[in-house]
């Protein structure tokens, strides 16, 4: 993958397949600690301890079209290449949390890329689910919670309506610039 944000899209897809109704994506940067943490937490069907143990094996997959599953193994490799790690905590019936830690100063660090595009597509293409996106850089942060947006929009206006999509796109970009300390 050319961007870590593409991995986020891929991993979130697993949460969707697991029947999650709410998916949280968290991207936290700690410049002093030289750490980037990406976390995807869902309330889907979860995995058994045995499945968790096998999920980083490329030859383990629950799908039926192929015998390989590369999403999690790739993400794990990309984290470990930088000296970071990947952790999975899961419980059947409760959900799954995938956490990847990266060392941004490492030469093999893959850039985060357009995380806002990933979040926007996840929201607009899965309007039957809720997403919480939380982005933090040191002590500056913002959150986009589709449950909050739905509270304002009511039932008739959907999250994939063009005006709403444009609002979310601008919101994400403005907030990102602001926590990066860039002028708007």
């Amino acid at each position: 993958m050319r961007e870590l944000s593409l991995n986020v899209m891929d991993i979130a897809q697993n949460s969707i397949s697991a029947g999650a109704t709410c998916i949280e994506v968290e991207v936290c940067e700690d410049t002093a600690q030289d750490r980037l943490t990406i976390q995807i937490v869902d309330n889907g069907r979860g995995m058994s301890a045995d499945q968790v143990a096998h999920v980083t094996d490329p030859f383990f997959t629950t799908r039926t079209t192929r015998k390989v599953g590369l999403g999690i193994p790739l993400f794990k490799m990309e984290a470990e290449m930088t000296g970071g790690e990947l952790r999975i905590v899961s419980e059947p019936g409760k959900g799954t949390a995938v956490t990847a830690e990266f060392v941004p100063s490492h030469v093999d660090f893959i850039p985060l890329g357009d995380i806002n595009a990933t979040v926007l597509l996840l929201i607009t293409c899965n309007t039957d689910r809720d997403f919480v996106f939380h982005r933090r850089i040191d002590d500056r942060e913002f959150t986009l919670d589709t449950r909050e947006l739905r509270g304002i929009l009511g039932e008739e206006v959907e999250l994939n309506m063009p005006d709403v999509v444009a609002w979310m796109r601008d919101f994400l970009n403005e907030q990102t610039q602001s926590i990066k300390g860039e002028k708007i």
């Binding site: 593409l6 897809q13 192929r66 999403g71 293409c125 899965n126 206006v157």
Partner: protein, 123 residues
Amino acid sequence: MKSLAELQAIRDKARGKVTLREGQDDAIRVLVGMATCGIAAGARPVLTTIVDEVAKRGLQNVMVTQTGCIGICQFEPVVEVVEPGKEKITYVKMTPEKAVRMVNDHLVNGNVVTEFTIGANSK
């Protein structure tokens, strides 16, 4: 800065002219493969382009959704167009530029872009 008050204004403007999408039997479905293979091959910009283009042209009868791996990873990014009563069209090795043409020619004007389909690319 974008505020929640602006979102309220969008809601008030949209209310009343919202057409119900539910129960549309004649809707065209556009499926973009978004598994590991599709994403790695560049499906995200393709999906973004299709969503934007459909919104720009106000195509009310088109539903754009994601799908998983359909098993032809070497042809990714793959886009399928499913129209009721017609044969399914599978576009392969898509790019944002090809996607714009697919929306304009196929979804708007009803002409399949044969040169982008799997039939023309599988040799």
